[in-house]
């Protein structure tokens, strides 16, 4: 998947197309709540079976999240 496709996937789980971009800081964005993050992690595991929860919890921004799944 391309970065753009993964970004769109994240946007779907955050229920908002507009306010999520690669620079979005996860801790500061209310739409990226723990349920959204859990759903994103589950979706990411489908894309990259080797992805671990440890990889994801280090992510600070949406860009980091995208990097974690395509590394």
């Amino acid at each position: 998947m391309s970065r753009e496709e993964i970004l769109n996937l994240i946007r779907q789980f955050a229920n908002n197309e507009e306010c999520i971009n690669e620079n979005t800081v996860i801790a500061e964005n209310d739409l990226l709540d723990s349920m959204s993050l859990l759903n994103i992690f589950i979706a990411f595991k489908e894309i990259n079976k080797n992805l671990s929860i440890r990889d994801v919890i280090q992510c600070k921004t949406v860009s980091d999240l995208i990097d974690s799944v395509i590394k």
Binding site: I26, A27, S34, I53, V56, I57, Q58
Partner: protein, 190 residues
């Protein structure tokens, strides 16, 4: 000009609650959704629960608070095994109501519980998260700034030094949290 009313969030010490409210809390605590993520997954009897809550009145090492708004119970936050000399404690709790009108409400609640930490000088949390509770791990690390320090077969162990007086002054922390009082009418019955 229309002033938007602040949302009430009230923290009430279990020792101030009547038995009907305590019983209502127990119904949620015993629900499958919440119980499965607790350290103790056993069903708790009403008698045991009420005794436990009654004994909190003379217990300086464990604090439990109901969090609610005007209409409903939002959740419970607790501070267990408090060491008043080392300023350590084990934070816990559970969200009862997911208010879809207010994204990340539980995150705000936990941020607001920092005021309780400051009041009781609870600076060093020892956080345990069950390994199958990925949502709690994601929440604590990605939303609340905790760091994964260790793990065993059953738990992840997390820490957070935000309240360490050597890291942040109380004035700095209160400044960081000032946004909460712009959004919420926060009340504490400690």
């Amino acid at each position: 000009m229309v002033l938007k009313e602040k949302k009430l969030i009230e923290f009430i010490n279990f020792t101030k609650l009547d038995s009907n409210v305590l019983k209502e809390i127990l119904v949620h605590r015993n629900s499958d959704r919440i119980r499965k993520n607790m350290v103790s997954t056993e069903l708790i009897s009403e008698e045991s629960h009420l005794n436990f809550c009654h004994n909190l009145k003379k217990d300086k090492n464990n604090l439990y608070f109901l969090v609610r708004d005007e209409q409903e119970l939002i959740g419970v936050v607790d501070f267990k095994n408090i060491d008043h000399i080392r300023h350590t404690y084990e934070p816990g709790g559970y969200c009862i109501s997911h208010n879809s009108d207010f994204p990340n409400l539980w995150g705000y609640v936990l941020s607001a519980s920092t005021f309780i930490c400051l009041k009781f000088k609870l600076y060093f949390p020892k956080i345990l998260v069950k390994k199958d509770n990925h949502q709690a791990l994601l929440f604590n690390t990605m939303k609340m700034g905790c760091i994964l320090t260790d793990e065993d077969n059953e738990y992840y162990y997390l820490s957070n030094n935000y309240l360490d007086p050597k890291v942040n002054s109380e004035d700095k922390i209160l400044g960081d949290l000032s946004y909460l009082t712009n959004i919420f009418d926060l009340r504490f019955d400690l």
